[in-house]
């Protein structure tokens, strides 16, 4: 599988090949109220999706794109090639530079952990 991310305004795509510890994680803003008879009322206010994408061997140009999108808080689209009909509106949620580690012994390839979340 691959993940394609690209800005919502015209720009370049970056294709990511996630490592094996790639994770998707949905979070719900919800409240549960249980009545005295045991009836359970569930109020789901919002569902947010998150992706933790460990990457390596990222070309320096792609690393630059990703890091600049993170720096500017650019709104992005994410497409999973396993579900190509679904386009998710996402932002990079990392609190520090997402792709900044060199991959030994190369000086032009990078690794990192990218966290994406819907908004």
């Amino acid at each position: 599988m691959s993940l394609i991310i690209f800005p919502s305004s015209p720009g370049d795509n970056v294709i990511l090949e996630p490592e094996w510890d790639y994770e998707t994680n949905d979070i719900q803003n919800r409240n549960e109220h249980i009545s005295r008879s045991g009836r359970r009322y569930l109020y789901i206010w919002a569902t947010m999706s998150r992706w933790k994408i460990p990457v390596s061997f990222i070309a320096s140009q792609d690393a630059s794109y990703i890091n600049s999108w993170w720096q500017s808080g650019t709104a992005l689209y994410l497409v999973d090639t396993l579900r190509p009909t679904i386009t998710n509106s996402v932002m990079i949620l990392n609190t520090s530079l997402p792709v900044g580690k060199y991959v030994q012994p190369y000086t032009t390839l990078y690794a990192g952990d990218i966290t994406l979340g819907t908004y």
Partner: protein, 391 residues
């Protein structure tokens, strides 16, 4: 006086997993997606004062900086709506709050927006002056006439008749006025510089009326005897229930001062009604109802008011606080309902007198009591020979 929504909306309130929609608008622009913290909206039957609610909103991109750039936007009209998404016909929403921006505060990436309801306008305008008081001294003025003049001529509320009135729930006002008209209850008034809301509060207190904001408009009610309870609350929707009684609620001799003479600061008539049975049981609990701005003209109507209070206040009444999910959203203040709790052994019919709706988590707190209701007449067909005999 149930919420004016479709039966589908009522069904959704009782649904286990409804598709809920919350909407926050400023000048009709939708800012719902920016809300980080939704408010709790409160109202009480005799708590006539402006309500404020505070909303937390995401402002990391400066979307709410327009309040700083253009300070007149602080007068923007705002609404808070709540409802459900219908699978085919879209959203059905009801207005829980309507008002204007009161205050804004900016901290870190958040904008805190305080809203205040339409009653603020009635606190910012006054009626009469000491040197030139506003006097209604006619002998045939209904309390509803005085309230209408206060709201429209002095408070600046719309005087439009019908459901298009943006400020006043006109249907409830007409029904309220009809009560006084049918009984020819007359009042006089004199205002020497009070805020309009205080005058309206006096009318409400002297007539034992419920005046409060309901669905964004000022609603008027005078509760009467009921023949049936509209709805019920039981353990399928009660999350928590507390019950209390207070000796201070007892009034067994009620005076109502009337025919005020402003020149001598004196009420020339003081009729009263009392409950001898209550005095024997609980001791004497007296109360005097008097107001130098709004007063009854004749002893007949003052006595009628005293009798009205004695009807329910001769003994302490149960105050029940019931916490529910959205099941009680369609039940408005003033609505009569049965509250059933087998442990406390209650199953009586009371009225909702206060309501708090938490838009953030969907929890509703109803304060329900018997202060404005006599036991309803319930026809128990099980003790009759058969329902056919009713025909």
């Amino acid at each position: 006086m149930p919420l004016s929504v479709t039966s589908w909306f009522v069904d959704q309130c009782a649904a286990l997993v409804p598709t809920i929609v919350r909407k926050f608008t400023i000048n009709a622009s939708d800012y719902s997606s920016r809300v980080t913290r939704w408010p709790t909206i409160s109202a009480g039957w005799n708590d006539l004062r402006p309500q404020t609610v505070t909303i937390g909103a995401a402002n990391e991109d400066g979307a709410f900086n327009f309040f700083i750039d253009n300070k007149t936007t602080l007068t923007s009209s705002c609404t808070l709506k709540f409802g459900f998404t219908h699978p085919t016909s879209g959203d059905e929403l009801t207005t829980l709050f309507a008002g204007t921006v009161d205050k804004v505060g900016y901290a870190k990436g958040e904008c805190q927006i305080s809203l205040i309801d339409r009653l603020r306008q009635l606190t910012q305008r006054t009626i009469g002056k000491s040197a030139a008081p506003v006097i209604w001294s006619g002998a045939t003025q209904l309390p509803s006439h005085i309230a209408w003049w206060l709201c429209t001529s002095y408070g600046g509320f719309s005087a439009t008749s019908g459901p298009t009135n943006p400020d006043i729930d006109h249907a409830s006002f007409l029904a309220w006025a009809a009560v006084f008209s049918a009984d020819t209850v007359y009042m006089q008034a004199r205002f020497e510089g009070k805020p309009v809301i205080e005058g309206l509060r006096s009318v409400g207190r002297m007539t034992n009326s419920a005046i409060f904001m309901s669905q964004g408009k000022l609603a008027f009610y005078r509760f009467t005897n009921v023949n049936t309870n509209i709805t019920s609350l039981d353990n399928t929707s009660i999350i928590d229930l507390t019950l209390s009684m207070d000796d201070a609620d007892i009034v067994n001799r009620q005076y109502v001062n009337a025919a005020y003479a402003p020149a001598s600061n004196y009420w020339t008539i003081t009729p009263f009604d009392q409950s001898a049975a209550s005095i024997n049981s609980y001791g004497l609990h007296e109360d005097i109802l008097k107001d130098a701005t709004v007063w009854y003209v004749t002893s007949v109507h003052a006595l009628n008011m005293a009798q009205r209070i004695m009807f329910t206040s001769g003994q302490p009444y149960e105050r029940v606080q019931v916490k529910t999910p959205l099941t009680s959203l369609p039940m408005l203040i003033g609505e009569t309902l049965l509250v059933q709790d087998s442990m406390l052994g209650i199953g009586a019919g009371w009225r909702i007198m206060e309501k708090q709706i938490n838009m953030d988590d969907g929890m509703i707190i109803n304060k329900i009591d018997g202060s404005q209701i006599a036991d309803p007449f319930l026809l128990d067909t099980s003790i009759l020979d058969g329902t056919d005999l009713l025909l």
